[in-house]
């Protein structure tokens, strides 16, 4: 599966990374080289293999339903590029 410039632009947009036309052009051969290389995995017969889920045998633990956190707004907002009236602020969104 070799990808073209349009695909590169779609991936960049899905990734929310702005790229110029030139950058898109540069990405095409680069990504194709890497993808071409990883596609050798296709050679491996995995018809009877389950995908790995937990690398080391381990069970998902269930937490008790108690309030142990929160009430730390100052720490939550401490690094905000823009905070106002206790909210994070972002450019206006039209839904």
């Amino acid at each position: 599966m070799s990808i073209d410039k349009q695909t590169v632009k779609k991936i960049a947009s899905l990734s929310r990374i702005a790229i110029t036309d030139a950058e898109a052009d540069a990405f095409v051969p680069e990504l194709n080289q890497i993808l071409g290389w990883v596609e050798q995995l296709g050679e491996v017969d995995c018809s009877k293999v389950e995908p790995m889920t937990a690398v080391i045998a381990n069970k998902l633990r269930l937490r008790d339903d108690v309030v142990t956190d929160g009430e730390i707004r100052d720490r939550i907002l401490a690094n905000a590029p823009m905070a106002d009236h206790g909210f994070f602020a972002v450019p206006k969104v039209i839904e």
């Binding site: 995995l41 491996v44 994070f88």
Partner: protein, 494 residues
């Protein structure tokens, strides 16, 4: 008597116990070493006050006759992937410039509780994505090592834990934390002639460690020798309910059980690791290692890990896939960089911020990860890679039927020159060919310095163990360490 700065964790511990020097003297010694090491560009932030405060606490505790923690009086370097409360943490990325965590990572707080102090935050490959430290947004680290050809060309300390490797090998810090996703502790340790240990996945909590690839990331120690690694890992490891993948097991007393007599141990030599065009020196070192382990009483057996050649491609699907999602939170809304062009909407702000904040390698991996997860390709890439990962893990399980440990080279080459591979991603990825398979299987593995190449650069051997059997890995490492007699240190040119 040896200079304080020549000492590692155990040396500092016994010196303080014996009263040869105070923890404060140790801290001041290394703070001075850090100040003098600017040319290496190893530190992103220096925190002398933290190191001093911890040292004073240790001296006070000793004066009060309290029993000291495992790391008492040891000032360490902290890889910048660990969030440290009140100290800027960026993962060497522009997108986190100015981010000051309001919390302390579990691993760093474990170390501080054990009495360690912090000299500063260490440079690294951006978001731990790289094998040469050249992807840092704040300039690459320069290795203390130089080739003996008199060329004085700058070499890489390896990556991603390059800052950690540089300061430990340069005796600028007695020990440092590292993280290993596909070899980021072991490869730089090998490149700089120090000892680096990646424990079983789940031994060290990931809470508060900036995520690269969640199913692979593991923290570990980088130090002078095997004993120091054992001491430091005991302090770092432990169950943490805040990490769902943390193993609920007691931390063994690895140091106390160190024993280099390998009588009865079987060491497997995986034939698939004899990759074509492997430098003769590496092959020779591997043979040397085999002899040393025989000497220590181990028997050597040939084993096969048939899917080894597929480990790297599988890794370069799984790691970028997880990374592309893990790095979505860097969006300029709650912390870090925000790039808001005039009249830009929310989605434009995301794209501009991430374009400005991420380096080329990070973008490359996010793009690959996004692509392999995207509609129509998920099964062909991601699911297939996770199935191959199962096969790779089963290869190890089968090998354990005939041996207890595996011995391999750590890296396919010695340290290379800065810039030599930075424009060829694939060539760079191949650095991890020997370290990635054990990462995919979550197994404990370490790199021990075992010799020098013709240009006077360190080479390392890797020991891989069964899940949770760190002890055997430490013991085999110790057997090599005792026999290799590796004493080479970089000339101080900085």
């Amino acid at each position: 008597m040896t200079e304080i700065f020549e000492l590692g964790i155990a040396g500092i511990r016994s010196g303080i116990d014996a009263g040869d020097f105070t923890a404060k003297q140790v801290a001041e010694t290394f703070i001075a070493r850090v100040a003098a090491a600017k040319p290496l560009n190893a530190f992103l932030v220096e925190t002398p006050d933290h190191a001093l405060a911890a040292a004073e606490a240790t001296d006070q505790a000793k004066a009060n006759g309290e029993t000291l923690g495992r790391m008492a009086g040891v000032p360490i370097g902290m890889k910048d992937l660990f969030c440290t409360e009140g100290v800027e943490t960026t993962a060497a990325s522009g997108i986190l410039k100015g981010f000051v965590p309001q919390y302390e990572s579990t691993v760093s707080s474990n170390l501080f509780r054990a009495g360690a102090g912090m000299l500063g935050k260490l440079n690294m490959d951006q978001f731990a994505m790289g094998s040469s430290n050249e992807t840092s947004a704040f300039g690459n680290v320069i290795s203390p090592w130089r080739r003996n050809d008199g060329g004085n060309s700058d070499l890489t300390p390896g990556g991603s834990s390059g800052g950690s490797a540089a300061v430990v090998s340069g005796r600028i810090a007695p020990a440092a934390t590292g993280t290993d996703t596909g070899g980021s502790i072991r490869q730089p340790a090998a490149f700089t002639g120090i000892t680096g240990f990646k424990p079983t996945y789940g031994r060290c909590s990931r809470w508060g460690t900036i995520a690269f690839a969640s199913s692979l990331d593991q923290a570990g120690p980088m130090a002078h020798d095997v004993r120091d690694c054992a001491i430091m890992l005991e302090a770092m490891a432990g169950f943490d309910a805040k990490d769902s993948t943390s193993l609920n097991l007691p931390v063994p007393d690895w140091e106390a059980a160190l024993n280099s007599n390998l009588a009865g141990k079987k060491i497997g030599i995986p034939k698939e690791y004899r990759v074509e065009n492997m430098p003769a020196e590496i092959d020779a070192l591997w043979q040397k290692g085999i002899e040393m382990l025989k000497e220590a009483g181990a028997t050597i057996v040939d084993v096969s890990l048939p899917h080894t050649k597929y480990a790297l491609p599988a890794y370069y699907i799984i790691a970028p896939a997880e990374a592309s999602s893990n790095l979505s939170r860097y969006d300029g809304v709650r912390y870090g960089l925000r790039d808001l062009p005039d009249g830009a909407g929310l989605q434009d702000m995301y794209a501009a911020t991430r374009e400005a904040g991420f380096g080329p390698e990070v973008k490359r991996r996010i793009m690959i990860g996004t692509y392999v997860l995207s509609a129509g390709y998920y099964d062909a890439y991601y699911t297939q890679a996770q199935k191959v990962r199962t096969l790779i893990s089963q290869d190890f399980d089968k090998a354990w039927n005939s041996c207890d440990l595996l011995l391999t080279p750590t890296a396919p080459s010695a340290a290379f020159g800065l810039g030599e591979k930075s424009d060829d991603p694939l060539a760079m990825y191949l650095n991890d060919v020997f370290t990635v398979p054990s990462s995919l299987a979550g197994l404990p593995a370490m790199s021990v310095p075992a010799g020098l190449d013709g240009k006077g650069l360190p080479l390392g051997l890797q020991i891989i163990g069964k899940a949770l059997d760190e002890q055997s890995v430490f013991n085999a490492g110790l057997a090599i360490e005792e026999r290799a007699g590796f004493v080479a240190k970089p000339e101080q040119w900085w």
